[in-house]
Symmetry: C2
Subunit: 220 residues, 2 copies
């Protein structure tokens, strides 16, 4: 048996070429949809990340989301991630092509902080709640990138309603079976720029893919 | 409008309690399947990570996969991840509950190494290929955790066929539109312990969820 990779070694394709071929496949196979020319590259990258066309039915943009994202990224707005997987997945090179001020400290995630773990233990509530509360200062004008815990999104929704907090953009894509559907429904009822995925599905790679697609739109 | 999180604050649920409730929901809603009692907790955690029951039709285990995983994890086998998101997502606390020898250096990922990037540039091939090649020593008896690039899995398949490399277990869950389906089909034709997902879908959180579920099975 001849290993399949020999075909690739004989006809080399770079990572960039493979990505371009993938995007062309998605354009070809995608069912009809009503996304705008600016929205489609974002949705397409979400499909690229999951190989799942059924997401098309569930992606929702607030009308101001893309303009808000462009300004925030160009201004180097801080990014708060609800998981360390998101922090690891975000490409500093892509962020810096939009705004050279971006650096490692621009991307925050407090879910593994010791003080956050202590508060969670003392209250029998999830760590993600206290992690968001700790990040409130940075979320004022910042970008929330959520792909994990719905409680993070619920707490952010509360801060928006009760304290007047105004993030520049919320990428709200928690995943799962408890509190998830409601957390996104509540987000869509708020007057803030958001990109979300209705229903139970979501995940860190989806949230990261949205940021990376927005970086391409925002590049000078 | 009263924010929804007040319900949770009034009736606190910890992260562990929310997880238990999610798992019960999955047990209740899952369609009929033929997974064994040892396989089901692994598949269930994959559903928990994606909120997607359609995965049930595509998860495949080699007959020896769970026994092989248990021995490898208990022996502290090194883990090679094909993305830094996987490295960030793996819980050191869970690994150490199975084998106290696990430490940060036990989890490797070479895809962002400078020498790997240089080789990729010189050959116009993806970095993930050279990253796996660099990890071959650790993959002898190690655990491969792949949730990103199919080329990583294709190169590992080649090393197995052509050099006699024998990983303890391959979690083969790359995602996407180019080389993905074939890379998993080739894996399933090899005589090595594997857990994989037929078709185009996959992803880093799925690969991580399999490791975490295996840790629970392997705990002493």
């Amino acid at each position: 048996m001849k290993p399949l990779i020999h075909d690739l070694l004989a006809n080399p394709l770079s990572g960039e070429q493979i990505e371009a071929r993938s995007m062309a496949t998605i354009d070809r196979e995608a069912p009809p949809h009503n996304f705008s020319p600016e929205q489609w590259p974002i949705v397409r990258r979400m499909v690229h990340t999951t190989a799942d066309f059924s997401l098309l039915e569930q992606v929702r943009f607030s009308p101001d989301a893309i303009d808000a994202a462009r300004s925030a990224l160009r201004g180097g707005a801080p990014i708060y991630a609800d998981s360390n997987m998101i922090r690891a997945g975000l490409s500093m090179a892509r962020l810096q092509r939009v705004c050279p001020d971006y650096r490692a400290e621009s991307i925050l995630c407090h879910v593994a902080d010791a003080d956050v773990a202590n508060q969670a233990r003392q209250t029998s509530l999830p760590r993600s709640l206290f992690a968001v509360r700790k990040a409130a200062d940075k979320l004022q004008g910042g970008i929330a990138v959520f792909g994990n815990a719905p409680v993070a999104l619920l707490e952010l929704n509360r801060l928006i309603v009760e304290t007047g907090l105004r993030p520049a953009l919320i990428i709200g894509m928690p995943v799962g079976f408890v509190h998830v559907v409601e957390s996104k429904q509540e987000l869509m009822d708020l007057d803030v720029p958001y990109i979300t995925l209705e229903g139970r599905r979501g995940g860190s790679p989806l949230a990261v893919s949205v940021v990376h697609a927005l970086c391409e739109l925002a590049m000078p």
